[in-house]
Amino acid sequence: MLAIEIEARGAVTLVEITGSLDGLTAGDLLERCTAELARGRASLVAGFGGVEYTSSAGLRVLLAVMKDARAREGDLRLAAVRPEVMRVLDLAGFSGILKIYDDAEAAIASFGA
């Protein structure tokens, strides 16, 4: 129930996610992002425009990827988060620790800023 598309945008990797990020699907995202990080691509943008929901399992994967990316002097940044998902991120404290942008272009550009 989760589709992940990965696209290289210069030094930044855009990870477009569609579906529900939950206990049944979060492992796929972790695997794909970890593979990118292992290739030395530590500047990640997660496109959240297609994410309908995230449970605690999804949030823990975001946290793990963010920590790994930052340890490699990169970052995980979010883009185009839907209001209903934003409420979960707010309540779970994630909007206070992750950088979140209105759209993927702004998130990608932020790495050059």
Binding site: M1, L24, L59
Partner: protein
């Protein structure tokens, strides 16, 4: 980590009449064939947690809420409360202080729940309150239901803290407005958490509104920090359900209960489908 079997908990946070949305949530879960293994409730959520655990019918739920929770429960001033506030030494202020008389709410709780105890619940039931002396969360899970609910509903300044087993207890929201930790501790690995943020005041022109605003700010920040911690550090799957109310629902708007239940049901439907898949997959994924 995959567990052999999903153990499902429903946690209902504080939120006054909005907590009735948990009834709609249960309809959605029941339609998906999802049973509950335990229920946890806090403050207004304690009422609906008890109702869910006792297995009342939807008609009974509606009827009991209409009987229990009306503006009258907080409309009678407690004799001497104001004088105790103004001249505490002269009139003997104590920790068991509140502005409002609690006899009516106790009477209504007794009418609704009678002498039922926690052991009458069909599934394990946990209600939370806060120790007024230490600030610690207190989990009530045995003995008569009415004192436990009264303690969980001891809204500061409105109702006096309430003594249960030699401990003076105040509203559960003061220690955690959404006590997910109780479900984790009791072994749940799929936790459906229905939480509500305290509303902010539209205009602040009285000291009471000012106090409500301060309380909402503190409560909402406590809700977020506690939920963030439980969400991040435990391996239980926590599914947060936050109903969106297009209409304003006041603390005593019991006439809006059918609407509140409907919103809860709608908010829960997509989650119910996911929980079903999760259970079919054998646990927490």
């Amino acid at each position: 980590m995959t567990t052999p079997r999903g153990k499902v908990a429903l946690v209902i946070g504080s939120g006054g009449v909005k907590c009735a949305a948990a009834i709609g949530l249960q309809y959605a879960l029941a339609r998906a064939g999802i049973g509950l293994d335990m229920v946890v409730g806090c403050s207004g959520g304690a009422l609906y947690a008890a109702i869910a655990a006792l297995g009342f019918t939807p008609e009974e739920v509606h009827e009991k809420t209409l009987q229990l929770w009306t503006r009258e429960v907080t409309s009678t001033r407690r004799r001497g409360a104001r004088w105790q506030l103004l001249f505490p030494r002269l009139f003997g202020f104590s920790a068991e202080w509140g502005f409002r008389d609690d006899r009516l709410i106790l009477e209504r709780l007794r009418a609704a729940f009678g002498d039922r105890t926690f052991s009458d619940a069909r599934i394990p039931l946990y209600l939370t309150a806060t120790d007024f002396a230490t600030g610690e969360q207190v989990v009530l899970s045995s003995g008569p239901l009415v004192p436990a609910m009264r303690a969980s509903l001891a809204i500061p300044f409105i109702f006096a803290p309430y003594r249960v087993d030699d401990r003076l207890l105040v509203d559960g929201f003061l220690s955690d407005p959404l006590p997910v930790n109780v479900a984790i501790r009791e072994g749940a690995n799929i936790i459906v958490a229905m939480g509500f943020e305290s509303p902010y005041q539209r205009a602040i022109r009285t000291p009471a509104r000012f106090a409500f605003q301060v309380s909402s700010i503190m409560t909402n920040n406590l809700l977020k920090s506690r939920f963030a911690f439980h969400n991040a550090v435990h391996h239980a799957e926590v599914i947060l359900v936050v109903p969106e109310f297009a209409k304003r629902v006041g603390v005593f708007d019991t006439w809006q209960i059918p609407y509140v239940i409907e919103v809860g049901e709608r908010a829960a439907e997509p989650h119910a489908a996911y929980i079903r898949r999760l259970l079919d997959a054998g646990g927490t994924g």
